[in-house]
Amino acid sequence: MPELVRVERLKMAYGDDVVLSGVDMSIEAGEIVTIVGPNGSGKSTLLKAMVGTELPRGGEVVRKQGLRIGYVPQRMAVDALLPLAVSRFLSLARVRKADAIGALEKVGAERLLNRQLSDLSGGQLQRVLLARALASEPELLLLDEPTQGLDQPGSAALYRLIEQLRDDLGCGIVMVSHELHVVMSASDRVICLNGHVCCQGHPDVVASAPEYRALFGTGTQGALALYRHEHTHSHEGHDHDHHHHDHA
């Protein structure tokens, strides 16, 4: 699998405040990587470093030549004084109108095409942002807390969509989450972050890692509920089975 982004000995800081140090990781095409960590652990900063808006204080971020990045920010404050319809917002992403509508349909937001961005709810805006990222046919999809503002069925549908996107587009996906107790089993790798990489590996491995338990153990009594996604290959009309194992 071709490598999309490689992060080496990354150090990030705001002023004297060191947020990340000694971070090594790489993302390959077709893989889903979930980054978990407590608030202030540097998850969003790591994503911003991969996008390139925040410059490293040390180490480096190596991107594949001409890498197409689809980025879905944690939130986007749209000033009420800025009149901007969803259709115009998507055209700013330099996608053709047909592609934009197709992307909106994929995330179930085609009805929002002519709505004003500042009128959307948090969940609706999240979908539009995801559609925008998809429309540019990314090789690397970066999602910052994508389930924020979504209810349980909404989150489940989003996780399903993300898996499907990986299969359809073959893109690499990095997802940041603070939902410590809901780590998607579809993740190929989970990276546990707290200023540095505490541990990483297959979700099951990370769940039982002592570093993970030391970090999140008190909050969830050491339990990690996996969002299991049973592949039953059912056909149209039959939804996948979802079992939410809560061991807490």
Partner: protein, 265 residues
């Protein structure tokens, strides 16, 4: 025709409206109102430097406004530019400008004309500078339109499309500095901010797209400056402040009209 000082004043006012109104939309969208005020106030220091060196006003004001803008953008990049630090820069820059002018011996020009503008004293040469400057601002706004919209919405989204947020902020700052240099003689350092913000804010209720808002802002801006000039002529009041009063009245009417039409929210 250009011999008539009123015609020259009207043309200068028109040029200023074309520069301030579309750029003002970005000032409003990016919540840079205080930043633009600070840049305009500090530009008085540029006037003082030009008078001391007996140099032309425009390049000096442009340079000072540009330096101020770049300093603030750099500070905000490090999370230091708060309301407070902008306030410190704006007021100390303005005060420093006022003090510096007091040191210049045999000053021929009243400082009032740079604080509140003196559009009736605009010469043919000034007019050429104003229109060239305004044309440059309009060209920058049109050229960088989509990129600035993206950076305004989210620097990360912009960067993911290879639009460089820091570079765009720098070009926006250049456009703002140009606007300050263009407008200082017409409305004065203290009131430039008003011509940036008020037409854009008045245009908002009638706009469904950013492009439409910019165009309506231009119409309101032109109405404010030309209307203000006319009212100032009738009532024998200072032109710069009168333009801002007319702009304020347009804003009030626009808000009232939108409230009647779309309901109060």
């Amino acid at each position: 025709m250009l011999d008539d000082f009123l015609i020259r004043a009207a043309l200068a006012a028109l040029g200023v409206a074309f520069a301030t109104a579309p750029l003002g939309c970005f000032v409003v969208w990016r919540r840079m109102a205080y930043f633009s005020d600070a840049t305009a106030h500090v530009s008085l220091l540029g006037v003082a430097i030009a008078l001391a060196l007996n140099a032309p006003i425009f390049p000096s004001v442009l340079l000072v406004a540009l330096v101020m803008g770049v300093v603030v953008v750099r500070l905000s990049g490090r999370g230091l530019a708060t309301d407070t630090s902008l306030g410190v820069l704006a007021h100390s820059g303005l005060a420093l400008g006022l003090v510096a002018v007091a040191f210049i011996p045999n000053i021929r020009i009243s400082l009032d004309s740079f604080l509140f503008g003196d559009v009736l004293a605009v010469s043919r040469g000034d007019l050429a500078v104003i229109w060239l400057g305004a044309a440059a601002v309009v060209a920058l706004v049109i050229w960088r339109w989509s990129a600035w919209l993206l950076v305004t919405l989210s620097p990360e989204l912009a960067q993911s499309q290879n639009v460089k947020p820091r570079l765009e902020e720098l070009i926006l700052t250049l456009a703002l500095a140009l606007t300050v240099a263009v407008a200082i003689e017409v409305v004065g350092a203290l009131l430039i901010g008003a011509l940036l913000i008020i037409p854009a804010a008045a245009a908002r209720p009638w706009s469904g797209s950013p492009e439409r808002m910019a165009m309506i802002a231009v119409i309101f801006g032109v109405a404010s400056t030309l209307g203000g000039l006319q009212v100032a002529f009738w009532l024998d009041t200072p032109a710069g402040p009168t333009m801002v009063v007319v702009a304020g009245a347009i804003f009030a009417l626009s808000t009232l009209g939108a409230g009647l039409r779309y309901g109060w929210s």
